[in-house]
Symmetry: D2
Amino acid sequence: MNSFGRYFRVSIFGESHGPAIGIVMDGVPAGIPLSEDDFTEDIDRRRSGGDGTTPRREPDCPEILSGVHDGFTTGAPLTVIIKNENAHSSDYDLFRDMPRPGHADRAASVKWNGYNDMRGGGHFSGRLTLPIVAAGVVAKKILCRNAMIPINARCIEIGGIDFSSGMKIMYICDNIEASEPSDTCRFGPCEECPSRSAVEVLPIPVIAAIERAMEAGDSLGGVVECVVEGLPAGLGEPFFDSVESLISHAVFAIPGVRGIEFGDGFRASKMKGSEHNDPIGKDGLPQKNGAGGINGGITNGAPVVFRVALKPTSSIRKKQHTMNFAKGEMSDLSVPGRHDSCFALRAPVVVEAMTAIVLADLVRMPI
Amino acid sequence: MNSFGRYFRVSIFGESHGPAIGIVMDGVPAGIPLSEDDFTEDIDRRRSGGDGTTPRREPDCPEILSGVHDGFTTGAPLTVIIKNENAHSSDYDLFRDMPRPGHADRAASVKWNGYNDMRGGGHFSGRLTLPIVAAGVVAKKILCRNAMIPINARCIEIGGIDFSSGMKIMYICDNIEASEPSDTCRFGPCEECPSRSAVEVLPIPVIAAIERAMEAGDSLGGVVECVVEGLPAGLGEPFFDSVESLISHAVFAIPGVRGIEFGDGFRASKMKGSEHNDPIGKDGLPQKNGAGGINGGITNGAPVVFRVALKPTSSIRKKQHTMNFAKGEMSDLSVPGRHDSCFALRAPVVVEAMTAIVLADLVRMPI
Amino acid sequence: MNSFGRYFRVSIFGESHGPAIGIVMDGVPAGIPLSEDDFTEDIDRRRSGGDGTTPRREPDCPEILSGVHDGFTTGAPLTVIIKNENAHSSDYDLFRDMPRPGHADRAASVKWNGYNDMRGGGHFSGRLTLPIVAAGVVAKKILCRNAMIPINARCIEIGGIDFSSGMKIMYICDNIEASEPSDTCRFGPCEECPSRSAVEVLPIPVIAAIERAMEAGDSLGGVVECVVEGLPAGLGEPFFDSVESLISHAVFAIPGVRGIEFGDGFRASKMKGSEHNDPIGKDGLPQKNGAGGINGGITNGAPVVFRVALKPTSSIRKKQHTMNFAKGEMSDLSVPGRHDSCFALRAPVVVEAMTAIVLADLVRMPI
Amino acid sequence: MNSFGRYFRVSIFGESHGPAIGIVMDGVPAGIPLSEDDFTEDIDRRRSGGDGTTPRREPDCPEILSGVHDGFTTGAPLTVIIKNENAHSSDYDLFRDMPRPGHADRAASVKWNGYNDMRGGGHFSGRLTLPIVAAGVVAKKILCRNAMIPINARCIEIGGIDFSSGMKIMYICDNIEASEPSDTCRFGPCEECPSRSAVEVLPIPVIAAIERAMEAGDSLGGVVECVVEGLPAGLGEPFFDSVESLISHAVFAIPGVRGIEFGDGFRASKMKGSEHNDPIGKDGLPQKNGAGGINGGITNGAPVVFRVALKPTSSIRKKQHTMNFAKGEMSDLSVPGRHDSCFALRAPVVVEAMTAIVLADLVRMPI
């Protein structure tokens, strides 16, 4: 089924080339200020990929159909839709005969006996992460009603290049880019300079790798790390509603996820107990946080930390030799159209949204 | 909450040192042959760790309280309990004051305001995997009612030593162990020899690493790989009930899991699309199975393959410097009692059980 | 929460004067033919109250947002919305100060701390039965995929006047109404007469009672009986998913329902066992059906029969003396606007829809 | 499925003649005092039927298997079982061939393909209300943690004899029964008399009707009324989680229930709006409570009031002519064994338990 959550529940719907995609949120407390503008920032982050380029305001504007009145949530189910533009749907007839490698085309056709809407990937389209981002905006607001609980996800690896030590900050002053802030410019001391800005940029080798992949009609994968601070200890349940169970459940609902690990993750399996174990400090918190903020499925008060592996984009221009069921023989396929060469760059805000959806549910769980 | 599944649902209960632990299974079809003996094999695998030693029959005998009559499931809820033996519960008073590093002692006390039963880890004990293994036995029977769907999990890495290419087979003939079968023995040709047997044994370096850890009062982690064959294409749902979502949800309910990855997993994030993508063959199946048998959350007909990272055992004899809340100061703690030095060795049958629980639910989902 | 069902699940949303009301259906099988025209008949029945007047085609046209492609359901979530027209919302400011007797105005304001949308009753409006009727249309199609399972609900009592023996049939021929078909008319033998029609009409005393209530600015209640034929034996579960549990759960979600009874219902509590018990006949079916088609929560193969008590419409023109919270004193209230004088007349198709929603869920339950 | 509730969830299991029956409760807050003695009073009420006879302590003692430690709930799942005594199971072979009229024998055999345990009615036995009463005890404790929320159910009609104005109180003083308290006795003024007691007794005509039914080998039905005081306004949800939906769902899980009505109930459908509508008083409460404490599915602060229709006991000694499937012909059946002639007398505490289970769930719902 296509819904998730017990106390804060989302139900997703829509196909890429149908009239609209959307999400219903149930369990939204009454009295939270909300307008359509609140979605802009995260929708923009999803669109631009946070790759340092100026976010552009494009037509993917969410419309609130229900659950908000006079600028506040009403307590009733909150529905957001995003209308689809007309698209060249005929492009997709091909994929019924020749399912795209790495895509759900084939599995979906078997599941739904050929009735699935294949245009733009239909219900399987990455476009469906748009309503998830919208729900994430509401979830973040629920989460932060009583205390600040910031969720921050970012790419830490692209195409095998690890930049987890942090993205490079570029300083732009007087239209000159530099890796360090300039001391002075024609406006005077740097701190007060009106033209000064600092942006996170991908490391040069990553940008180069992306460009090479694009030129080759190929694509890259990546790893997203997510950190949640400010969560109280005691959330989650020992077994089936462990915090890891719930987060991984939601994160694997993001198209293209291949793995998830918490805290020390796969590295923990190579460690000794004395290395991985976390002595508890005077503040009651683990001192190294190798468990990623969770013990026995329950938050322990330290930041929740996890990493998500995202595969390279499946739709590539580069030729692939795959089955053509109409012809009954293997043929070459070059997927037409414009596609992300690395959708992992756009994934952090989606991972944040899923995390917020899970945590909004958890903080509403009665203790 | 402590239940899982929509069509085949399990509800787990019990504390390590309470009267009994158990599990209720709802949605078991009527007419499946089942007796208490059916649990023996998997319960033994969990106990012995499958490390090549002879499994011993010990008192952890499941009792069927409901749902079985005259040797067949009745269709009504099926309940299995395992009684707990008397244990030295006083040992555990210490951990209220001085929560064990790596354990849920502290998080559980915060969550339940100190009312949690801490004896033996209480409801957080690894002993609770016993009823999960029992439910797995029933789930495997449900799964294989109409077709063979074998689930096989095994350790592929212990203490950082990768032996994924397969465990060594030791041939025992006439009480002599050898790495190759002997051609002859006093009974005649090897094939008919009544005393001949072959067992999987851990590689020597792994056994040595375990022994070193035990001597040092320390512990090791490991990685378990699970392969499911025979699943039809079309199981699962696009978003929140993706096969990965459901399996990861259940697997993270196993105490001590730190990560999970499907198919190429974290390695996929370092690959190009043209490498990771799976051309579909004439048989309609992906040719490399880098997606681990799942596309868009839906099974594609290829084997489902995933790997689980397990942390080293938390309870270690080796001294740890951690907070003593009674004294209000950091103190040394050496966890007393006998503990696994590597519980990952006992985990494969638990991973199989969780997988079977998920898949029994999925195959009962109407299409 | 505002969703219902396990295998066929509906999630309702919307407020009476918001942009739109709607419903998401999850678990719809792929391949069912469906267009927006399919909703017309039941939507018309809900509108006109089935009181013998000509149904008019009005603007409450459902739009399918997702889950249908090329005239067939796709298997993905099916969303239907109905846009709201502009309405005189200012009318409703009054009711915040002076909650209407019999309405949810007061309870909703307490629940949602005054943030609820009160315009037109907001999320509590009877208008929300419109998407339920739409979901009922889809549910009926699911139910009848393999076998005919007709669901028929009708009013059997209005304003205390019992007409359960059946509504009167009026024959209209050549524009002349008569209680019996005429043998001949100018077109020739009656059977082939192109202008001939037969309509069910309410008994004269009921029509008179309704008119008297309208004149007095008052309202009437009624009883709806629902009969489901063709259900196989064996649906439902012994305890919490008994057929009665599920149907009553859904039926009490209809605004204004005060009671429900199955088979002999409340009359059964006055009977002796030898009277109420149902001997089983040679066909394996109960011979009197006093249990309403259900034993031990499970369908027994006989028609499922139940009756629903509906209260009189709460919004009345007649003066009521009730609390004015703004003034802090009791005042007279005459609810303005046009309201049904007996919404029970429009309820049968809503009861059918709820029943279909429950049964579509039940027939999809694996056995 | 056999579980119910979202925040406080019960899962029932067991067969009448199996090893044990029981219930798992999930979502029990930690720190509630609970011992096995706490179950005695309600279990005794269920046993004796509250008919004025001295409750006897019999072997149906609940055992707590999990979730309680040192006299307090731990927060982990709470499991209670009641062991079954040996019973004459062979009695029940007959009913496979000749299903008892009014029982689930036939429907259950069809549902579960003949694998159902028919001994004592198996999972369909009224004995399963025993764990429900046990769960009710826990639910009542949850409900009353912060405020008194008394739930009181009692029979108001038996065999068609209405005594809703209250059961007669008999005063027993110095071993003399009287319908009024005596002014004096040998101990002195009545109020301080140590031998004085007052008991509720059924009206004489009811007792006579029960005796006549017993002599005739027949049975009687009845009506139970339940009143819940002290509930805050604002509980419940507008549609599918309306308070009536949830209570009726749980109440129809009690074997033998044929109908339920809230407030004015079926009588409301015969009333005018001006009669049934409830003006709101200065205290913010409805003045007549014809809605039974609920508007729009939401509690309004007035007592929740509902009535439940219970059928006459199905198992009767009196001959019934019904199908014998082994012989292929209609035959006479006289159900052997000792059975209640009116189980409605024992139902009030079961109705209370179900109500408490629903309300414990509702009060734990986050607002």
